[in-house]
């Protein structure tokens, strides 16, 4: 690493963290002028023919990753009988929302499961952001005894796989009357998103010019005032990253929800789909399963595509920790 660092210094990157680098190139690529940054690490300037090949290959590779998901959207619009029998040429001549209608109406509708998932994911996103903002502020801008130890303890939780504390956590939640509770599940999701959240927020606050904080202090601004009016706009991207992570984690989380919820009415969407899969509500219906999976997929895609620059930023910033 020493080699990398000194090389970077020679290259004159002014004290920027690598997280910033990636963020910057991310931005550069969006405004991506052809001439401006069309240089590969290999150093070759892309000729227009090279660019044509690059785009053709890129489209082909992207198709491998995206087409299966798009295909499942089409499949979920087939009538159940078509999903359950041999595919044929006429499969797509009768597209219908029947699977969705069945899934979203009647006695065992999954609307409540979608709502449960939303409640847990939003609650976890809000709690994680709130706690991580406070902790990030404390770790970045206050020097106090035990600060290093406390930071180490928070990061230690990163090393503990939640799968490995499942059973003791189950008993603990039981004692705390948080079993079979959406709040309990949200608290669980919050905890295991905190290490990355605190890390991202601490980095955000460290990038705030120190004299701004000192000026606020000299002006007699209280800690909450400083946080809410002076610093908030500067660390909003970090908050977006933290909230996005917690939301996506909670929305797709399965094992915790499966273990800590036993009441059908409280199931989150991924757990409810396992009932659809095994046909708890009657015969196994693959049309319904696909429609449910597509419903689970859509919010992820929308949230991610809208906020992806925050996601990538967090990925890099979190990974730096090593």
């Amino acid at each position: 690493m020493a080699a990398v660092r000194s090389r970077r210094d020679q290259a004159g990157t002014p004290g920027a963290s690598r997280g910033q680098d990636a963020g910057r190139s991310q931005r550069a690529s969006r405004s991506g002028g052809r001439g401006a940054s069309a240089r590969a690490p290999g150093g070759r300037t892309a000729s227009s023919r090279g660019l044509g090949w690059f785009i053709a290959a890129g489209v082909a590779i992207s198709a491998v990753f995206v087409l299966p998901l798009v295909w499942e959207i089409f499949r979920s619009l087939e009538p159940e009988s078509a999903v359950a029998s041999a595919p044929s040429g006429q499969s797509f001549s009768h597209l219908t929302f029947a699977n969705y209608q069945t899934l979203l109406s009647g006695q065992d509708d999954i609307i409540r499961n979608v709502v449960n998932s939303l409640v847990v994911a939003v609650l976890a996103a809000v709690l994680t952001s709130l706690v991580a903002v406070l902790a990030g502020y404390g770790f970045a801008l206050f020097r106090f005894r035990g600060s290093g130890l406390a930071f180490g303890l928070v990061l230690l939780a990163f090393m503990i796989p939640f799968q490995a504390v499942l059973t003791p956590l189950f008993l603990e939640l039981h004692f705390l009357h948080l079993l079979n509770s959406l709040l309990g599940l949200a608290l669980f999701n919050t905890t295991f998103n905190l290490p990355i959240g605190v890390y991202v927020m601490r980095n955000s606050f460290l990038q705030v010019p120190r004299e701004l904080v000192d000026a606020a202090r000299v002006d007699g601004a209280s800690v909450p005032t400083t946080l809410l009016s002076v610093l908030r706009p500067l660390v909003l991207p970090g908050i977006a990253t933290t909230a996005l992570y917690a939301f996506l984690f909670s929305w797709t989380e399965f094992l915790g929800a499966l273990s800590f919820l036993t009441n059908d009415d409280l199931f989150t969407l991924p757990v409810a789909l396992s009932n659809v899969e095994t046909g708890t509500y009657g015969a196994v219906n693959y049309g319904l399963l696909l429609a449910g999976a597509v419903i689970a997929m859509i919010p992820c895609v929308i949230v991610y595509v809208a906020l992806q620059r925050y996601y990538v930023r967090g990925l890099v910033s979190g990974a730096l920790k090593g």
């Binding site: 690529s29 499949r75 059973t167 990538v312």
Partner: protein
């Protein structure tokens, strides 16, 4: 820091306040206030981590020394659960199976992720869109995709058999999820598809941190693209490679969702993973003590994997 100096000169008091806090010895009133405020700010985070992560870890070790049933009284039984594990064939088999699964998917994930990173790392027109597309399966999540795969892997009705039988590769009636080998193949391909976008993002971030000047001087020296990649990129990327391997190996070792959804451990118990074994022992057999002993073993194994890989890849990195 240089920017801050004029302010300090104008306000001599400020410098004193800040140096009071810096060495961690709160010698001034401001310093003491800093300690109080700082601790108050980080307390909620410590509370969460302490209550829902660190405490359960210690509690788990304690439970593993008891015969704790899910309901009812319990007593301390020493290391009996750990001795029982040595003869628990399903658990031992699940360790072997999980190691085998980890061994199968790790290299493909890394190789595909690395190749994709090389492909998208330069900021050329379209590369941001390609990154987004390739990363999408990771965002959607393995749970959702496992449900989709269950439908598409059905004999006679699934898309997989339809396509593969048209190509003459398999029979239309191949039942992927009820044969150990076929299920393992299908799940491994699904996981590599799901996960390589994540490996790509990590490795790409590392590659973008390498200054261009190194490559330019290598080119001047007449190094081929391949030589530059092998002699420059890979060594400079060591830390990122270690990180991406650790995350992927640990993630594979903790596999649960895809197996629970697609095979439920079957046929028989041939595709039971370690985490599934713990889940089953705790919630189906209701033997929380034994399940906790398994969890302790899991924590140790995961810690060892991380440590060994880190040492191995960091050996001459620093």
């Amino acid at each position: 820091m240089t920017v801050a100096e004029p302010a300090q000169r104008r306000l001599p008091g400020l410098a004193r306040l800040r140096s009071g806090g810096r060495d961690g010895r709160p010698s001034t009133a401001q310093g003491r206030r800093d300690t109080r405020t700082g601790l108050a700010l980080v307390a909620p985070a410590l509370l969460f981590v302490g209550v829902f992560a660190l405490f359960p870890l210690g509690f788990g070790v304690y439970i593993s020394l008891t015969n704790w049933p899910l309901v009812g009284p319990y007593q301390l039984i020493g290391l009996a659960n750990y001795y029982a594990l040595l003869h628990d064939s399903v658990f031992l088999q699940s360790i072997l199976f999980t190691l085998k699964y980890t061994g199968i998917v790790t290299i493909p994930i890394f190789v595909v992720g690395y190749a994709l990173a090389v492909f998208v790392r330069a900021n050329r027109p379209g590369s941001t869109v390609f990154r987004t597309m390739i990363f999408l399966p990771y965002i959607v999540g393995l749970v959702t995709e496992s449900y989709m795969a269950v439908v598409e892997l059905q004999p006679t009705s699934g898309t997989v058999n339809y396509v593969l039988s048209k190509l003459g590769l398999v029979s239309d009636t191949t039942a992927w999820l009820v044969h150990t080998g076929l299920a393992m193949t299908a799940i491994s391909i699904l996981v590599v598809w799901f996960y390589s976008g994540f490996a790509m993002m990590l490795l790409m971030a590392g590659m973008q941190g390498i200054p261009q000047e190194i490559y330019e001087s290598a080119r001047v020296d007449g190094a081929s693209w391949w030589a530059a990649e092998r002699r420059l990129t890979v060594p400079l990327l060591r830390r990122w490679i270690a990180l991406s391997l650790i995350i992927s190996v640990v993630g594979s070792f903790l596999a649960f969702n895809q197996f629970f959804i697609m095979t439920d451990g079957g046929p028989g118990t041939s595709t039971v993973t370690v985490v599934m074994s713990i889940y089953d022992t705790a919630f189906a057999q209701m033997d929380v003590g034994l399940a906790s002993a398994m969890s302790v073993v899991l924590v140790i194994v995961v810690g060892l994997i991380t440590f060994v890989q880190f040492r191995f890849l960091q050996r001459d990195g620093d």
